[in-house]
Amino acid sequence: MTVFSLIIINKAGGLVYQREFQPGLRKLSTNDYLVLAGTFHGVHAITRSITPKLPLSTASTAATTPTSSNMPPTPGIPNSFTPGSAFTFPNPGTPATGLECLETDKFRLTCFQTLTGTKFLLFTDPIMGNIDVVMKKVYELYADYVMKNPFYQLEMPVRCEAFDRHLGGWLRGRT
């Protein structure tokens, strides 16, 4: 399994961490990585907003009305009650997210957004499976060694030697 690199984007779209683990992708300048993080942040929001909306036919509206009328409208899940916005997402019940996984000929990009808005971008080999496990571990290490570090300032670039060390060590142990 190959993990090419990891990028962490803060909730404002700024690049806070970039690290290459294995060669395979082209190296960019620091400025290009900053641009890439900002671009991705914007694209991510757009990919959520272009989610196809399926109009509810009258039959299905009647079926869903009794249940949905008792519940307060949930953000992210369209409420089928208002006329004129009678639509549903393809996967009703799941909140619409932005881009989660992108595939190209050479790599696969997996994006995980935390509830607080931080985005983790993992670039891996396209044939590699179990990215969820890697992503979960990255988030765990981030929560441990970045968020618990008294010298880390929120939303600022991550310069935590313990995070680097544990992340590198864990990934080496898996290969």
Binding site: D32, P52, K53, P55, L102, F123
Partner: protein, 167 residues
């Protein structure tokens, strides 16, 4: 497998064709684009009401173009000039992308269960677009001002391809 929509962009970033298999209230259909087709199950039972977020088909096409254009550039930057972005997915849908050597971009939005549509998009390009649009002597070479692909043969065969071959 469900196909939600399909777009073609030419090399000037102009949306020259779009089609959706998800009907919208008729007031939201953009003026310059071709009328969208309705699937047989959900016919025009919805009254023409004004959508609260009146984003038109045109706006959607622009947003989709912006997305695939940015992602394509990002992928090229990271993976090299010969790398191309194939597909992405969110929790709700999948977007498939195919770009011809002449810079025409084919984009298709489907549900999450669909397999890779790269071959299908390639087939649409080779068997439908080239056959019925490019080889059509009456079809304009460029589409300034968004005239678009206004071609019955192409539309019908696309409809057949999507409803019969893909589903």
């Amino acid at each position: 497998m469900v196909v939600y929509s399909f777009y073609i962009f030419d090399r000037h970033a102009e949306c020259i064709y779009n089609r959706r298999w998800v009907p919208r209230p008729s007031s939201m259909i953009g003026k310059s684009s071709r009328p969208t087709s309705e699937t047989s199950t959900t016919t025009n039972t919805l009254p023409p009401v004004l959508g609260h977020s009146a984003r038109t088909t045109d706006d959607d096409a622009k947003l989709i173009f912006g997305t695939v254009f940015s992602l394509r550039n990002m992928v090229r930057k990271l993976g090299g000039e010969d790398d191309s972005f194939v597909t992405y997915r969110t929790s709700q849908y999948k977007l498939h992308y195919y770009e011809t050597p002449t810079n025409i971009k084919f984009v298709m939005l489907t549900d999450l269960k669909s397999p890779s549509m790269r071959v299908a998009l390639q087939q649409i390009y080779i068997n439908l677009y080239v056959e019925y649009v490019v080889k059509n002597p009456l079809s304009p070479v460029e589409h300034p001002g968004g005239v678009g692909v206004n071609n019955e043969l192409f539309e019908e065969s696309l409809e057949q391809f999507v409803t019969r071959v893909l589903s």
